[in-house]
Symmetry: C4
Subunit: 127 residues, 4 copies
Amino acid sequence: MRTIGARRWAIADGYIPAWSRGREPQMTSHDTVCILNANAEEAHIEIVLYFSDRAPVGPYRVTVPAERTRHIRFNELCDPQPVPLDTDYASVISSDIDVVLQHTRLDSRQQELALMTTIAYPAPAAG
Amino acid sequence: MRTIGARRWAIADGYIPAWSRGREPQMTSHDTVCILNANAEEAHIEIVLYFSDRAPVGPYRVTVPAERTRHIRFNELCDPQPVPLDTDYASVISSDIDVVLQHTRLDSRQQELALMTTIAYPAPAAG
Amino acid sequence: MRTIGARRWAIADGYIPAWSRGREPQMTSHDTVCILNANAEEAHIEIVLYFSDRAPVGPYRVTVPAERTRHIRFNELCDPQPVPLDTDYASVISSDIDVVLQHTRLDSRQQELALMTTIAYPAPAAG
Amino acid sequence: MRTIGARRWAIADGYIPAWSRGREPQMTSHDTVCILNANAEEAHIEIVLYFSDRAPVGPYRVTVPAERTRHIRFNELCDPQPVPLDTDYASVISSDIDVVLQHTRLDSRQQELALMTTIAYPAPAAG
C-alpha cells in the first residue's frame, strides 16, 4: 500500500490555556498534535515553535513507531524547554517520512469544555 | 457530472470519550466519519485503525450506496472488534471510488456538549 | 487580482439540530455554508443534498453578488423543499465561477452553545 | 530550509459575536486569524473584508516579522475602519511571501465558551 501524508506541516494557532477544570488528565486543557505514521518504518519528527516576540525554539524531537499514532500534547514537550502557557505560538513539524497531522485543542478553563480541530497545513511535496 | 473526492483519506485524531450525558442517541459522545458518495455506483470502503501501543486493527468494511451519505460512528464499528473508549487512535480510509470524508466529534462528558469537525486529509491521486 | 477558490465543493457532515435555546436568530441551532465570491461578477450556485436513505434533493439555487459573501443557513433553504431536522445529510455545491466555502454549525440544543467549522472540500480543477 | 505556506488565503466565515462573558482579554469573544511567517524575512500582509450588503473594505495592512507568528483578532483591526460586530463577513489575505493561516473563533456569549478552528483556504500558486 502506498504511503499517506506529507513531510512538512504547519499549525498557525498554537495556544495552551492557562488553567483547567475537571478530571485529570482527560479534562486538563491541552493543545495537541496528533501524528499518524501509517508506514512500515519509524518516523523521526522535529517540531519548531514560533512566537510573537522571541526567537523560535527547537527542534523538539519525537519519534512515532511504524504503524502507530501518537497524540502529543504541547503541554508535555520539555526539551529544549517547556512551552509557556497563555502565550500565542505556531509550529512547523518536519518528518523524514510521510505522516498525517491533525491539531486539536481542548479548553476547560470554564466549567464546561470546548473543543476545536483541524487537519494541519501540509506543505506540497518539493518539485 | 464529474465525480468528487479522493480514494484514500486519513484522520489522525481519533478518540471516543468514555462517558456521556443527555438524551440518547443524539447526545451520546461519539467520534464520526461522514462519507459522501456522490457517484452513480456503490462505494466499498475499508477502514484501518492505528493505535499508540498495539498493531493496527482492520479492515472494517462499510458500503455507501450510490448517491448517498453515511455518517458512521466509530463507536458502532464492531467487526473485527469494537473500538476501545478513552483511547487514542487514528484511521486510514480507502474506497474503490472517489468519496468525500469529514471527521466530527461530539463530546458530552460534561453537562454541555462540545463539537469539533474537519474535512479529513485526502491523499493526492496516484501519479 | 486573480480569482480565488474552486467551482465544486463538498460538505460530508450535514446536520441541523432539532431544537435550540437562547436568543433568536443568533442562538438558533444552524448548519451554515459561508460562500465568498471575491470576483467582479455574480456567482450562480447550485446545492444538491444527499441523504442516507432517500434520493438526492435539489438543486437549490442561490446567487452571491460580485464581491460579496453570503452565509446561508441550510435551515432556510426551502425550494424545492425544506431540509429535514435531526437528519444526516451531505452536500455538493457547484458554482459557475470560483468561490470559497466554509462550513459552520452552531448547536444550542443544550444550555450552552457548541461551534464547529471547516473549510469545505474543494474539487481540484478539471484537468 | 524551504519556505512553507501560500501567498493568498481566504476565510469565508467571518463573524464577531456581539457580546462576551468572563475574564478579559482571554475570554472576550473574538474572531482571529493566526499567521505564521517561518521565513527569514518580514511578511507584508493585506486583508480585504467582504460583506453581504456593502462594498469590500480594506486593505488592512499588517506585518509579521521574520520567524514570528501573529494571532490577530479582527476585533482589533481599525484602519481603514473597525469591523462591525454581529455582522457576516469574509476575508481575503494576501502576503508578499509564503505564510500559513489558521482561522479561530472563541465565542463567549453564553456562560461557557465555544471554540472553532480551521486552516484557512490557500490559493494554489499561480501557474
